[in-house]
């Protein structure tokens, strides 16, 4: 059992190779692709999914899954913008309230998974529906506009050389650095891996498995809240319809990034690479002027090819 799950078919270097292959391909196809401006754009486009993928990665590393991530993010965005606009709350306070709501949603997931011992798939399927409905009901399905500038400051940009860099991109990168460091260099980080790798052993060794899980789900909620803030900053509105596709996108980013859905194996930076790969596909294909149906087709083929090429290359190296 252990052995079989250990043969990681898609290791630590894999995602980088896949990304490199993809980028090479698009560079050969479009001269605009490799410009600083375009790449900065891609990073801005993936920052929301990228930050969601941090939370999702933590959960998948514990052998769980979170279907509710996109909807919890939408809820957070609606709460923080509505608090600021409709109730005239101080924008920073409103942001904190939004983060609190998403963290609580995560906490709820965690408690249901640990206390009631429900499968994460079922729990988060439930909260997916609940968060969606509450978002629609609370926002009355209306986009929230006229946000105070303090809410969208993460959308601002600064220049490095001639390339525009958005604060949101920087935020995402910093969060990844942080998560990577914590997972690698701190005791709680290692406990998370142990819980995902062999929960029974973790329990016997004396790690409080439930506590680790609850913290992970709540933290993931916090990341979704930050993603909500980024999404608000990027779009300039509180959008009740945000987050619909982010669900599958985030899980895809994590899996493309080489993290095992069986838990305990994976590197969080891979999820960033995974998210970027998805963004690069979309950007590159548009630059090539591929019609949207064919974009879908090519994306499907490329996802398989990119991962397979890496797989092959590592087989040769063995």
């Amino acid at each position: 059992m252990n052995l079989s799950k250990s043969t990681i078919p898609w290791g630590a270097l894999g995602p980088w190779i896949a990304l490199a292959i993809t980028c090479l391909f698009f560079t050969s196809q479009s001269s605009r692709f490799l410009s600083g401006e375009n790449l900065s754009l891609v990073l801005q486009q993936v920052m929301v999914v990228g930050v969601i993928a941090i939370g999702q990665s933590l959960i998948i590393l514990t052998a769980g899954i979170d279907l509710s991530c996109g909807m919890v993010m939408a809820l957070g965005g609606v709460v923080m913008t509505k608090f600021a606009v409709d109730y005239g709350m101080n924008p920073y306070l409103a942001i904190v309230c939004g983060l609190l709501v998403t963290s609580c949603a995560g906490l709820l997931n965690g408690l249901l998974v640990t206390r009631v011992k429900l499968p994460p798939f079922i729990v988060t399927l439930g909260t997916l529906n609940i968060a969606f409905a509450i978002t629609q009901i609370y926002s009355e399905a209306q986009t929230i506009t006229n946000l105070p500038p303090a809410m969208t400051f993460l959308g601002n940009t600064f220049n490095i050389g001639s390339t525009e860099v958005s604060l949101g991109t920087v935020t995402m990168l910093v969060l990844y650095g942080l998560a990577w460091f914590v997972l690698r260099e701190t005791a709680p980080g290692r406990h998370l891996y142990a819980v995902g790798n062999n929960p029974e052993a973790a329990r016997l060794i004396g790690i409080s498995v439930d506590k680790v899980l609850v913290v992970v789900y709540a933290l993931a909620g916090l990341f979704y809240g930050i993603a909500a803030l980024l999404s608000v900053a990027r779009t300039g509105v509180g959008d009740p319809n945000a987050g619909t596709t982010e669900n599958l996108d985030a899980i895809t980013a994590v899996v493309l990034g080489g993290t095992s859905l069986f838990g305990g194996r994976g590197i969080i930076l891979g999820s960033l690479v995974g998210a970027v790969i998805v963004g690069v596909f979309r950007n590159g294909l548009t630059l090539m002027g591929v019609a949207s149906v064919y974009q879908t087709l090519i994306t499907g083929v490329l996802v398989i090819l990119a991962v397979a090429a890496d797989q092959m290359s590592r087989k040769g190296a063995r």
Binding site: A187, R190, E200, A201, A202, I207
Partner: protein, 265 residues
């Protein structure tokens, strides 16, 4: 340890019953562990040895009966509680995280943190120190493992067992429990573990040793708890009983009444 002086009971269990569905794994077992002794627990496969020590180590909660530590009733809801009380256990199915390295497995759940306030607050790992200590511990057992950063799943069966044994021996404060620690070990490595068990006892910690290896048991045990069909069949003294009588009781060929009085302990 002087066998004449009766040492105080460190751990005691009374009337422990544990059922798994239809199967009665433990059927009102009593158990006593005295200070500073090596107590061997032997019995046929399925006699309930692992089930018994899982109750003592908090991994299973008994359906009936109570456990006393230093004479006070304790209720371990989880292995964490037992561990807090200073009880360390090597489980038969080796509680290791296969994808993690040897050093990480040794220190899992009680990592060495970087010194200083920041290190403690952020719980930063002192990887260098852990690696150094891991090498020292494993050298104690003379296991020829090349790298402590190698994942446990790449180790041979015996090497894996050594990791679990080294962990328990290193951290115990009160009681050490080992469920068949030498089962997968070679002659040399098995002897190292027996030596280690003696060293632990000599530090003053009592050891519970489950083993099917009679020579090993008779070599190190101070007393032998014989488990049979989910019950305690007898407690015997390896200095005064023959190996064949012990096996006879274990397999049910003899009952405890047929043993000479001085064989009991």
């Amino acid at each position: 340890m002087n066998p004449k002086v009766i040492q105080p009971l460190v751990m005691q269990a009374k009337g422990i019953t544990k059922r798994f569905g239809q199967v009665v794994a433990l059927d009102g077992v009593d158990f006593e562990l005295r200070a500073g002794e090596i107590l061997a627990v032997i019995g046929d496969n399925g006699a309930g040895k692992s089930s018994l020590i899982k109750v003592l180590s908090g991994a299973n909660t008994p359906d009936e009966g109570e456990v006393l530590l230093d004479g006070k009733p304790v209720f371990f809801r989880s292995p964490i509680d037992a561990r807090r009380a200073g009880i360390e256990t090597v489980y038969q199915d080796l509680a290791v995280a296969p994808a993690m390295s040897i050093a990480e497995n040794l220190f899992l759940g009680r990592e060495i943190l970087k010194p200083g306030f920041i290190g403690q607050l952020l719980r930063l790992l002192d990887k260098k120190e852990m690696l150094a200590q891991a090498i020292a511990r494993m050298n104690d057992l003379k296991v020829g493992i090349r790298s402590m950063t190698q994942a446990v799943e790449t180790l041979s069966g015996g090497q894996r067992q050594c990791v679990a044994v080294a962990r328990a021996a290193a951290f115990a404060q009160h009681v050490v429990i080992m469920d068949e620690p030498t089962a997968a070990l070679g002659v040399k490595e098995g002897n190292m573990v027996l030596e280690l068990i003696r060293r632990v006892r000599d530090k003053g910690l009592p050891v519970i040793l489950i083993s099917h290896n009679m020579p090993h048991v008779f070599e190190v045990a101070d007393r032998i708890h014989i488990q049979r069909l989910g019950k305690r069949a007898a407690v015997v003294n390896p200095k005064t009983i023959s190996m064949s009588d012990t096996v006879a009781v274990m397999t049910g060929a003899k009952t405890v009444d047929e043993l000479p009085a001085e064989a009991l302990a």
